[in-house]
Subunit: 339 residues, 2 copies
Amino acid sequence: MQKKIMIAGYGSVAREFVRLILSRSKGIKEKYQIDLLVTGIIGSKGMIYQSEGIQLQELVDFGTGSDALLLYSQHFEIPIIDPRFEGDVLIDCTPTNLENGEPGLTYYSQAIRSGMDIVSVAKGALVHSFKEIMLEAQTKGTRIKYSGATAAALPTLDIGEYSLAGTTINRIEGILNGTSNFILTSMMDDHLSFAEALQLAQQKGIAEPNPVLDVKGFDSACKLLLLSNSLLGTDYSLKDIKIRGIDEVSMEEMLNIKQKNGRLKLLATAYKKEDQVVLEVTPCEIHSHHLLFNVNGTEKGVLFETSEMGTICCTGGASNPKGAAAAALKDFINLYRIG
Amino acid sequence: MQKKIMIAGYGSVAREFVRLILSRSKGIKEKYQIDLLVTGIIGSKGMIYQSEGIQLQELVDFGTGSDALLLYSQHFEIPIIDPRFEGDVLIDCTPTNLENGEPGLTYYSQAIRSGMDIVSVAKGALVHSFKEIMLEAQTKGTRIKYSGATAAALPTLDIGEYSLAGTTINRIEGILNGTSNFILTSMMDDHLSFAEALQLAQQKGIAEPNPVLDVKGFDSACKLLLLSNSLLGTDYSLKDIKIRGIDEVSMEEMLNIKQKNGRLKLLATAYKKEDQVVLEVTPCEIHSHHLLFNVNGTEKGVLFETSEMGTICCTGGASNPKGAAAAALKDFINLYRIG
């Protein structure tokens, strides 16, 4: 069956998604009988749309962002138009905006009203209005997947939803942000101060120019929120999470922990306490018996404590645009596969 | 919707499965709209069948095995009958028989012909006749899930099928047998000989009275075979796997590895070599950078190397009948859930 794809946002993740479609679409058609067709891409200055399908091979040669879409439109002599929502699924690759969830929020609403499913790599809209979006989708009978927004290539939601289906999850604990883990690892192993480690991360392209979301713990908190609301049945927002970032960690604290053979990790934790689920993001000293002890550098990891299956821990997954794009492609396949 | 369940084999895993249904069926109905009804259970001496549903609360009080089914039949004054296959799904909890795959093989054939799906905790039939069973199921439009046969509570197939959908898996490597891992761990940490460690494992109920399948590497090989045939598209049987068990590991070898800060693990590995997939089960010396280095005792673990998502490693999962039963319940839910 053919599935028409619209992509919102055309940064590095979206471009990697297009590249993956180019390299994997034949295999996906053979294995899952799903025929992929990208018909529209929305950038910040408007949308390119071709009902017969965007020429992806040409598109990837034009770079990323609105400029790429403009070059494409000039090359193929098609107009840049206002966003319109037609097709089977919207892949949201817009930047994460925690202020008001836009432009994702408006896009989701329009996509859902057009009967489209959504695969999201962005956290903004979901974190801002999780309940409202889910309710709207349920009412219209459309579906939303967001592995790309919950640690991307590291399986987190999948494990909770599929591998632990039918079990009771009592605790979720994760190192969910690669940038802050890289900084903490550099501080501990290379004896750098927070500022030095952050600078190193920025030089390596690991930390963004504005690292606030990562180092203040908000990115981890967003992922934890989505996991908890999805898997533990909570109805929380960011303000319900106790958040402490890593920007106040001192070298003295680090050395003290190192002397005890410990490690400092920014842990995002959801646990049950007297019929309530408590969410916390905070730097924690852990020791070698902890399942996430060896998750270092830009690596991420998550563990689930269950009543029936014991504790299951998953680590790894590429922390880069290709990994995030592959997570979106996985969600897309899992939406439409049969069996 | 109501789903009628038949269980084949009534050992400890099947009994835990029944217990799970008792405790979780209300929650499953609420969350997945699936109404579970166990209508028949096949033991080695025949079957109990009640179209209105077996009284599970009474059943679990009668113990396990054919004796329990006999006591139940006497208590409720129903006959022990020849196996018949009616219902939506067969849960196969029969003992693993690698000789000829029976009685599972006959049951599968009859269940598939009756249009039933299959959830398997047993390895025998699938390892013996993987291709034939899959083909028969495909022809009849029924489905087979077998998490319980591929490391049970540790997610292995799920990760390959769902979390890595659309990626290229280049290597699978796992510690897939808890008993042999316990023995190797005891040999290394407690300086026991193989014979002493095996005896300890038997005393603790970890190793079976006949430990050949575990310590000779066959159990690991069976799981590897099912993973490879399912995820890497191979069409192999056990004879295609190079298998070396742990029963020839000497204390001298162990001490030598320990001096180098290494660990000896029975690794089951599938990797690509010149367009071929090679399968091996063999004790390997690994060091602290290896992702499975800290998988000790009865723990299991698996890693997947992919082209798109990097390496993903999953460890843990209860190695006991309850964990295996929970894996079967998960497969059952994933067969019939909507979305």
